[in-house]
């Protein structure tokens, strides 16, 4: 059976979501997006010039992909909601990554404001994917409010430091009844692979691909890392070697008592 991720009524094959910021040019970005075979692409509405007939970023998104507008620049729930509505009115679709950042130093998200925006936008019919600091209580509330998935950070945006929040992400994967997508901080394909081995539903990557010396090959490498990690997860390797099953049952002798 095909291993598909279902979010917002869509069946998604590629578990690598990509961002569109920081690329040196759109043509190169488009090639990287195509090579990665990604299906979900996030675009900051602040960068979209809907009036521009040339250099409109949306023209460089492969046709088969779903655009997930993000609310980059929002300082509170109200601004995030307004950005999402603006995106909807402009025809950019209903998928929205809520990003509310009140901390320009570390770019860490504001979970409470993000939760508020999630509730409002989910009620309005948006497919809402909130970007958050890993917090199980808030994640539960986000899902109760209608979040289609939750997107905890691996490490701060653009830091390329990898999965520093592993323990918390593991708990979220265990406990949250919605897809967990690690967003932000993944610097290497092996980081993405590790997320997938752990049981994440998908990962979202931007900086590591965009600022690489060869974004096209880096996008491909991330895609392969995600595929390898997912395959390994499906093979149930996540317990590690100490918990490996012995070839003969350790308590098999008990049967002899009969």
């Amino acid at each position: 059976m095909e291993d598909l991720l279902e979010i917002g009524g869509k069946k998604i094959k590629s578990r690598l979501f990509l961002g569109t910021g920081k690329f040196s040019d759109y043509t190169l970005m488009k090639k990287a997006l195509e090579v990665s075979e990604t299906e979900i692409i996030t675009v900051a509405l602040r960068r979209v010039d809907l009036e521009s007939k040339q250099d409109n970023i949306l023209d460089y998104i492969p046709k088969k992909c779903t655009v997930m507008v993000n609310t980059s620049g929002a300082r509170d729930a109200d601004e995030a909601v307004r950005i999402a509505r603006l995106a909807k009115m402009s025809g950019a679709g209903l998928w929205v990554k809520i990003e509310v950042i009140r901390d320009n130093k570390y770019l860490l998200p504001d979970n409470l404001e993000t939760l508020k925006a999630t509730e409002i936008l989910a009620k309005e019919g948006f497919v809402v994917l909130p970007y958050m600091s890993p917090d199980i209580s808030i994640a539960r509330k986000m899902v109760e409010c209608g979040a289609a998935a939750v997107m905890p950070l691996g490490s701060p945006i653009g830091s390329n430091r990898g999965l520093k929040t592993k323990e918390l992400i593991s708990i979220m994967i265990e406990e949250i009844k919605a897809p967990i997508i690690v967003d932000a901080g993944l610097g290497r394909p092996s980081d993405a692979c590790a997320c997938m081995e752990l049981g994440c539903a998908a990962v979202l990557v931007n900086t590591a691909v965009a600022i690489s010396k060869d974004p096209i090959n880096m996008a491909k490498a991330f895609s392969e890392g995600v595929i390898a990690g997912r395959r390994a997860y499906l093979c149930k390797i996540t317990q590690g070697f100490n918990a490996a099953s012995p070839s003969s049952p350790l308590t098999g002798f008990l049967r002899e008592e009969k």
Binding site: F23, S24, L45, D49, R82, K105, G158
Partner: protein, 359 residues
């Protein structure tokens, strides 16, 4: 608490002797990176600055251009072409002329503009600036102002009118030099000027851009305070985008003699030291610098760059020099938006024309 408390704490600092008991490790490193000795490490610092810039801002460069609305001025800043004592033709754009300027600039694709006036509350009152904003906002997604210092309530009024960014330079942090440079007019008030960026932040400007006019004092001291001021704003208003500009005094009307030389090497040191100290800091580079130098500075930490600039009132549409009066300062990079875009693309940078919109 105001930035003035921090300024007072360090104003007597001996910049040649590192007795830094009160500085944090980051601040001490910043001070060291501005020192004469650090010039020996410039290449290593530049490599670090480039890496930090790439991770934080990517291979992108935001473009903007200034619109000069008026050159009426009630101050006599010694270094400025608009100095009230200079016998120059004074001009203030009518709303029709503002519209014409806006239309002309908008045709280049730019979505970010910086509007400027001389410091004259009587000739360019807030009501006039708001009227201009009303016209300009039909063409641009983001408007910043560089005008005389306002109260918090007045900044709120501007935000409600459609402004989202504030640029205001202290020019020089050393109080005694400030007093000498600004002998007459409202700008004489050092403290009111110093706290203006903070009032803008309190009013909820999205971005606040500060700066010192390089050449008025020993740049090592001035840039140290500039960095601390930016950090103070960043720490106090975490959702504010804080930026700086690095204007070096250019020739202008009045023949002002620049008291302190700032070399190209010094500018590079300033840029990379600021970038390493504040990784998320926006850094703007104006057309005061020549094209070749600007080109070379781009990878080292610049995030915003002006193009197609004119420092004449109405200078975008009035091209005949006889009708343009006098510029605030001479510009050295005459490239228009198209040329700048082409250059950036060639250099491997995405020119960003739009990075915000009114919501």
């Amino acid at each position: 608490m105001s930035f003035y408390d921090i300024y007072k704490k360090y104003k007597g600092l001996d910049f040649n002797q590192f007795i830094l008991a009160d500085l944090t490790v980051d601040e001490a490193e910043f001070l060291a990176s501005l020192s004469l000795e650090a010039e020996n490490n410039l290449e290593a610092m530049a490599i670090r600055a480039q890496d930090i810039t790439l991770r934080n801002f990517g291979r992108t460069m935001q473009l903007y251009t200034p619109i000069y609305l008026s050159n009426y001025c009630e101050n006599q800043c010694l270094y400025c072409g608009f100095n009230a004592a200079n016998k120059i033709e004074r001009k203030k754009l009518t709303l029709d002329e503002v519209k014409r300027e806006a239309e002309f600039i908008a045709a280049s694709g730019l979505k970010h503009v910086l509007i400027l006036t001389g410091d004259s509350r009587s000739s360019s009152p807030l009501s006039y600036i708001k009227e201009c904003v009303k016209v300009i906002k039909n063409y641009f997604s983001s408007i910043s102002v560089e005008i005389y210092a306002l109260s918090e309530e007045e900044y709120s009024e501007l935000i409600n009118a459609g402004v989202d960014g504030l640029t205001i330079y202290q020019e020089v942090y050393a109080e005694d030099i400030y007093a000498k440079m600004h002998p007459i007019g409202a700008k004489k008030d050092y403290s009111f000027r110093l706290d203006a960026p903070e009032r803008g932040a309190k009013a909820r400007m999205r971005n606040v851009n500060i700066g010192v006019l390089l050449g008025l004092n020993d740049w090592r001291k001035e840039v140290f305070f500039l960095g601390l001021h930016a950090k103070y704003l960043q720490d106090s208003y975490p959702d504010l985008e804080v930026g700086v500009s690095l204007p070096r005094i250019r020739p202008q009307a009045g023949n002002f003699n620049v008291p302190y030389e700032v070399t190209d090497r010094n500018i590079v040191q300033i840029l990379v030291a600021l970038r390493i100290f504040l990784p998320r800091l926006g850094i703007a580079l104006s057309t005061r610098e020549n094209p070749e130098f600007r080109n070379n500075l781009i990878p080292l930490g610049i995030t915003r760059i002006s193009a197609g600039s004119s420092t004449y009132v109405g200078g975008h549409t009035v091209k005949v020099s006889a009708d343009r009066g006098v510029p605030q300062f001479e510009i050295a990079d005459l490239r228009d938006v198209k040329e700048m875009k082409e250059f950036l693309e060639k250099k491997g940078y995405q020119p960003v024309l739009k990075d915000w919109m009114r919501i």
